[in-house]
Amino acid sequence: MTPLDKPGAATGPRTDRPRRRRAGTGGRRGVPLPLLLPGLLALAFLLLPLLALLVRAPWRSLPDQLTSAEVWQALRLSLVTATAATAVSLVLGVPLAWLLARTEFPGRGLVRALVTLPLVLPPVVGGVALLLALGRNGVIGRWLDSWFGITLPFTTTGVVIAEAFVAMPFLVISVEGTLRAADPRYEEAATTLGASRFTAFRRVTLPLIAPGIAAGAVLAWARALGEFGATITFAGNFPGRTQTMPLAVYLALQNDPEAAIALSLVLLAVSIAVLAGLRDRWMTTTS
């Protein structure tokens, strides 16, 4: 093509050709090598391990692997606990997000920072902290044990608690952002119509921020599903009770690598499904 074609390509009839051409030139022209090469390297670095997982997958024995009792047990436990942790995060996290976004109180900035701490805290540390708080000799756990006979560590409930501890901040941050972006005057309008602040929240704000809550919930669920460090520290690794998928993968890798790969594939599939579910929300806003 001659350079003269260019303006025509931009304004000419809408065929696939000009678009493809533009994409092609964008890749070759004007991109400096010092950026292009590391960029491509990064892409390979991120994708190759996943590719290796697919290449080395024991496709023939996969059906057997996935239907084995241990895998099924771990998968079911993972789904149940991640969903429960997400539910806990929703019930407690949405009100917290509302408090952070809609009320003024001293030290709000600090509270907000503390809420986000589990996002950056190594999950193992979170697990240790949970043990110290809710363990049988923990600050609160002691009373739970002696007063109500409730023991949380090394139980399925403990798994849910560990996952919620790690996943809830994702939901809180996501919902708080949505709340801040939502117009608070809708709540005022509801108030002038006779709605209490809670009714206004329930009947107006909640439906308005539902997409943000859904996105936050998916994010929290995915985080809970992949949770490893806090879970193994606080809840241990008992098959059928606290052994979730990531734990099962780690354990299987020691004595049955094929099973580990099969389990990993399942988690990869779930991750891709989550990404697809959030596609509209994230992948389109950046482009």
Binding site: D183, R185, Y186, E188, A189, A190, T191, T192, L193, G194, A195, S196, R197, T199, R203, V204, P207, L208
Partner: protein, 373 residues
């Protein structure tokens, strides 16, 4: 200037109510408010009173405190001091959800996830009506607004005028004793505005309790309200009927709104010596502090000093700016006496007016109007 003073048949019904007979024991019905709101540098101190059926317009430039006053009436902004009584009931410390007050917000704030019907039914539901009853009441209000066909529509599929009527229906469906409208026509385009203004006027006339609307548009204020309260810098600077305010503006802002040149000075007989410079000869005989007003159309411009003309009401000025005003040209003049003058396009061309051009301006004494300050 022509004054679009309310002259609909409803006015005759409304005016007798405007000054309610003082009741022996209790306070008169209607609105009695003294709103004081302190917000850092901004201080609002406004007294508002109105009887049932009154439509009060708060008029003022941006940032004058109109919306703050409205929010204080609704309870959305707490009072620092003062009081709010409605039909004799103190509401000063009543939370917004318990006040018998309806609000039409500037951009309506219709709940986007609810149909028009459910938007209107929201208020009755919150105030204790059952679902079916709330919906039937809402349907009746939509019908009254001519929107029965749009009951199921989501707000985003409504036109601006329709959304405005849904917002009005939503505010009225709770049976408020005080209706507040924040810039009710500001979100509409010019054509819709004309139509909606007429409808809104009808609905406000039919509303039996107090209406307070906030606007920066003098035409909206004059068409919709029977009484104007002009607010500048958080204080009431003038209050009265639209006709009264249009004839006797007391601040530059109001004078500009109603299209008058306004000056303040000391009168002695037929002469008013202005605080800032020259004197104006008037027909009225007054003494002491006065205002002098005259419309821009009363000003005649000359390129050269008119020969033979008396020196009365003749000032040397300079063109500061020109703008088209309908089929007229409005010249903004500075110099001995800053003033606005209207002239035809032809006259402007003959005078070769352009920013910076020197001109002589005269006004006949008979076209000025002086009144005590």
């Amino acid at each position: 200037m022509t004054t679009p003073h309310p002259t609909s048949p409803n006015d005759t019904d409304r005016h007798p109510q405007r000054r309610p007979q003082p009741q022996p024991q209790s306070e008169p019905p209607g609105l009695d408010a003294h709103l004081i709101v302190d917000r850092g540098a901004f201080h609002l101190d406004v007294t508002l009173t109105a009887g049932p059926g009154d439509v009060l317009a708060l008029l003022g430039p941006n940032g004058a405190g109109k919306t703050t006053a409205l929010r204080a009436l609704a309870g959305l902004t707490p009072l620092t001091a003062g009081h709010l009584h409605l039909d004799g009931t103190p509401l000063t410390d009543t939370p917004p959800e318990s006040r018998p007050v309806g609000v039409v917000f500037q951009d309506y704030l219709l709940f986007p996830h609810l149909s028009a019907l459910d938007n209107v039914a929201f208020g009755p539901r919150c105030r204790g009506a059952g679902r079916a009853e709330a919906r039937s009441r809402a349907a009746a209000w939509l019908d009254r607004m001519g929107l029965a066909d749009h009951a199921g529509a989501r707000p985003r599929s409504l036109s601006g005028g329709q959304a405005q009527r849904v917002a009005l229906a939503r505010a009225l469906a709770t049976g408020p004793r005080l209706l507040l409208l924040d810039e009710p026509l500001a979100a509409l385009d010019a054509r819709t505005r004309l139509e909606v203004r007429a409808q809104l006027r009808r609905h406000l006339a039919a509303f039996e309790a107090v209406s307070v609307l906030v606007t920066h548009d003098p035409l909206d204020a004059m068409v919709l309200a029977d009484r104007l309260v002009v607010i500048e810098d958080g204080r009431v600077v003038q209050e009265g009927t639209p006709a009264d305010i249009a004839r006797h503006p007391r601040t530059d802002y109001i004078a500009q709104l109603v299209g008058l040149n306004l000056y303040r000075g000391q009168a002695a007989g037929h002469t008013v010596r202005l605080d800032a410079g020259p004197a104006i000869t008037t027909t009225e005989v007054l003494s002491g502090p006065v205002f002098v007003a005259f419309p821009p159309s009363a000003v005649t411009l000359f390129r050269d000093r008119p020969s033979g003309a008396s020196a009365r009401n003749l000032w040397r000025c300079e063109v500061a700016g020109l703008e088209t005003h309908g089929d007229q040209i409005r010249a903004d003049l500075t110099g001995e006496l800053p003033l606005a003058a209207d002239l035809t396009t032809v006259a402007a061309a003959e005078l070769d007016l352009h920013p910076g051009a020197p001109v002589w301006a005269t006004v006949k004494a008979t076209q000025t109007h002086a009144y005590p300050a």
